[in-house]
């Protein structure tokens, strides 16, 4: 199944790798937040139809975090880099304004 993942605040020219159950699913360089829409990147991720571990690795800052996600309960995930830590939120919808 698919979930909608958004990288939001706190990124600036970063290399970011996303993994699903430790398997890399996305990697991008130069990830930068446009603060007026709180958007750095967003993507549809193919994930298992069961709880899984989402890994987010900001390699340029040596910041890494994992989140246990139930895709049925949280089909939308937003991740921000705040105070040197990766923080996840689970909004009802992903959309930027």
């Amino acid at each position: 199944m698919l979930i909608h993942l958004a990288l939001q605040d706190g990124f600036e020219g970063d290399e970011v790798a996303i993994s699903v159950d430790e398997r890399e699913a996305y990697r991008a360089e130069g990830v930068t937040t446009r603060t007026q829409i709180s958007h750095a990147a967003d993507m549809q991720l193919e994930v298992p139809d069961r709880p899984f571990v989402l890994g987010v690795d900001v390699t340029t800052r040596e910041v890494r975090e994992t989140f246990d996600i139930d895709p049925h309960a949280h089909p939308n995930v937003s991740v921000s880099l705040r105070d040197g830590r990766l923080v996840a939120r689970f909004p009802e919808q992903i959309g930027f304004v």
Binding site: T35, Q36, S38, S78, P91, E92, Q93, G95, V97
Partner: protein
Amino acid sequence: MKPYDEELELLDSDDAEDEADAEPSSEPQASGHPSHSPVSGLYTRSNPPTFPIPFGPAPAGIRPIRKEEVRLDVDGRYPQMTVSGTISGFLVARIHWIAGLSEIGANRWQGAIWYKDGAVASFPYTDVEVTAIGSHFPAGRKLRIKFSGGGATKRTVVYKFHSKYFRTVNLEFDFQASEVADTAINTCAHPVRPASLPCETLTIPKVIRRAGCQVTANAGSQVPSPPGTTWSDMEMHDAMQIHWSRFANNAQWAMWVFYASLHEAGTGLGGIMFDDIGPNHRQGTALFVDSFIAQPPANDPNPAAWIDRMRFWTAIHEMGHSFNLAHSWQKSLGTAWVPLADELEARSFMNYPYFVTGGQAAFFADFEFRFSDQELLFVRHAPERFVQMGNAAWFDHHGFEEAAVPAEPTLQLELRVNREQARYEFMEPVWLELKLKNVGDQPRLVEADVLDADSLTVILKKQGKEARQLVPFRQKCTQPVTKALMPGESLYGTVLASAGLNGWDVAEPGTYTIQAAAHIGDEDVVSLPVDLRIAPPISRDEEYVAGDLFVQGPARALALGGTRFLDDANDVLQEIVERFPERRISLHARVALGNPHTIDYKLVLPTDDLDNLEIAVAKADPGEATELIEPVLVGEAETALESLGHIRYRTIAERTAKRLSAAGADAAAAKTIDAAIDALAAREVHGKPIKPEVIEDLKETRKELAPKPKAKPRAKAKA
């Protein structure tokens, strides 16, 4: 440009209710009397009289005060119990302060100043006491504020009511062909809403007014575009420049709102403040009416109303970004104007409805179509440069961006050096000339002393350093005399830019930019900047004596035409005359040393017993004066004309000649005036000669002084 409701007729009777909210009571109000009439709004004080007795002392360093604004925010919609103020000096010194308020009586509040910005060293106060004075008429409404604390003398200022709004912003809603700029909503159209929410037709301008901003608007227009057009940020920026009637490359209280179908990024982008391109950000916003904001949740009870509300919310959300408001969860990020806390659950235009706990239904169930308190505090009370659309780092490269320059000025101010190249020798005083010309077709009334140094604002900026304002030595206190400046007529003046009460600001070798503004009523007439260069010293001796010259005493003597009192200053000038006779500073030193000898010079001295003061008169000494000044005005006339400047040279020559004549030195007087006539007649700068009437005036003076001219000495040119 008219207020929004007059221009577009989009407002209904409920706006009249808004207006009525702040109308003055029909009952007379006085200080200390109970009042139910709103008193919040903008109060101002501008162009204070020459004698500021009723207003109390101005903060040191903000002299003269040009304008003060105060925003009282204690009633009406969403009161923040705050008063804030902005004190503007003549363009370079600005103080912004904010105080929280507690009520201490009817129409009386007090509180501590918790925020200061700008020239805060000049504003030591820590507390305010505010009294609102009601009146039948808005013009009679006043605010009295007592500033205290900080070890400063108390300061009481009375401000006049100006507006019930804190700011004024201009809006323009343009739209892509086939789209509609719908700026109104029925607040009760959707069933998911606060039970207490009044049902009304709410417009975008009304929301902005409730945030504290008066709204004016331009008629919206269509942006031609083929069906299916999607937009990039750059394309919208281009469209803004073409279609926005107010577009300008400068900060202004105005924004462009573009209703488009879709961004090129797709349906996931509902709107954007796209204007982070170029030097003036936050002027342009867009919402994408066919994006996800037009996709209601499944089983929504009123999908059409949901869409209308999301579009309305999105438009104002983007406009909030133009006011420099961040998202509710971003408050603690970046560089906030004051430390802020995130507002993850705020029911604000700046929060995403679908990000709060419980999702968009929970958001709209409590949403009252408003900004949060900390957002309102920012919009209403933060320093203008933080909030105003398009504003950027202020002053250093924009010395006069705050100037009140009319759209079609009829006065023109020219600042000039009157020499072929704007280069000055080391230690040579920089005297600049000013010309104020009426370029309109109607006479203009100006004060006769409008070009005096203490009437002007002169900004001095050495390359690589912060700009400074010239504070001239002479601060006169006189009854204004008005002069009619006829079309095409000019007024002339001079100003010593080198030194003032601030010290020697234009003295060290290097490149300087100087700009001046004359102030006529509420109008600022700003000159183009003049760049000039101070050469380095040519010897260690010059460097050494410069240390003695670049202090207050010699500067005063040079600026004020000499002294018989400041002996130390005269010693320095005399040393310069003797040691550096070939340098231009010696010309200025000779004039300053010689001038006091042209008249009977009064000195206020202590009596022998030191108990009293008496006036002693040092008699004029034409011989000494001639010995000092004649080598300048006659012997070095051409060089003196350039270094002293045309206006000063002529003034000094004429004055000296008259005084010498009065003292019986007719021959010296005639020699001086003849040299001036010759030098001025021969003078050209950039191919332009001196105006013939100047020469004619001097010839008239010559006739008055000595009817029969003697042999004219020729002015010697200095190599």
